[in-house]
């Protein structure tokens, strides 16, 4: 990878990588570190990226995902949960974006990463599967469970929305 290609990759994908790491970890410092490490790896070992296996963004997000999970493990920010048994409770009312952030951060990490990659980074199921080294079916099921959990956790917002935007006859 030439210097110009690397610069184009950095300029084009740094926000996506940073945002993904920020949403995964909830920390600006960790997200900045992860972003630096992702591009450092691309710089030093660009041969690891094989264009025939997919676009660069899913590859970079896959690297970011591995680094973010490693950091979360080191900091013991979460315990490994049994995803099948995980059932979310509705959250206490708060600001909408704060509630969404809290709800997403409470998801088990594998559901969380699938949701962030699909919802916010707009990757296809196939691209997510490449990024998280899983089968498409597995990704689909994680995404489904993530959305089900969020539906329950964010249900207090529904009543608020219906109050705010209720129809006046």
């Amino acid at each position: 990878m030439t210097g110009a290609e690397f610069k184009a990759a950095f300029d084009g994908h740094k926000d996506a990588v940073y945002n993904f790491a920020w949403r995964m970890t909830g920390s600006a410092d960790v997200a900045a570190d992860v972003t630096q490490d992702v591009f450092l790896l691309l710089l030093r070992a660009s041969a690891r990226y094989d264009p025939s296996r997919g676009a660069l963004r899913p590859f970079l997000l896959g690297v970011a995902r591995n680094l973010a999970l490693k950091r979360l493990h080191q900091e013991s920010r979460w315990d490994v949960l049994d995803e099948e048994q995980f059932a979310a409770e509705p959250l206490e009312p708060a600001e909408t974006s704060e509630m969404v952030a809290r709800a997403v951060s409470e998801l088990p990490p594998l559901q969380r990463e699938a949701l962030i990659l699909a919802q916010y980074e707009e990757l296809s199921l196939e691209e997510i599967a490449v990024a998280v080294h899983a089968e498409v079916g597995t990704v689909k099921s994680r995404l489904f469970r993530a959305r089900e959990n969020l539906r329950r956790m964010l249900s207090p917002l529904k009543s608020r929305r219906s109050v705010s935007y209720g129809t006046i006859k």
Partner: protein, 122 residues
């Protein structure tokens, strides 16, 4: 409480905005590319100078991580080695005083005493 439908959920999730990479996030720099090296610079010199430079830098700031049991074993071995060396070292004795015959003097009064077999016990 009624759960959200797909559309509502997506609309709500979209309200969580990420800040984007901070402007001070620096792009990692590539090391000096091979093409930029001086044509006069011998190929054998480059790795050597770099290795020497990095070794010097390492000696100034580097650190070695040793597992605790290995560290303790090395320390004990070192102490035993020092102790065994100390134990094996010969004890230094003070040098003997030189003797000169000038201090010898002839006996002034000799009184030999013959001890008989009967007084042998004395």
């Amino acid at each position: 409480m009624e759960p959200l439908n797909d559309k509502e959920l997506s609309q709500i999730l979209e309200q969580w905005k990420a800040p984007g990479a901070p402007p001070n996030l620096e792009m990692p720099r590539q090391r000096e590319p091979k093409a930029a090296r001086s044509a006069h610079e011998g190929w054998w010199r480059v790795p050597l100078t770099r290795t020497t430079h990095s070794l010097c830098a390492w000696f100034m700031t580097g650190s070695i991580r040793i597992p605790a049991p290995v560290g303790v074993a090395i320390l004990i071995a070192l102490l035993l080695w020092v102790y065994s060396r100390e134990a094996a070292r010969p004890v230094a004795t003070p040098a003997a005083k030189p003797v000169s015959l000038t201090d010898f003097q002839p006996v002034k009064q000799l009184q030999p005493r013959v001890i008989g077999r009967a007084n042998e016990g004395n």
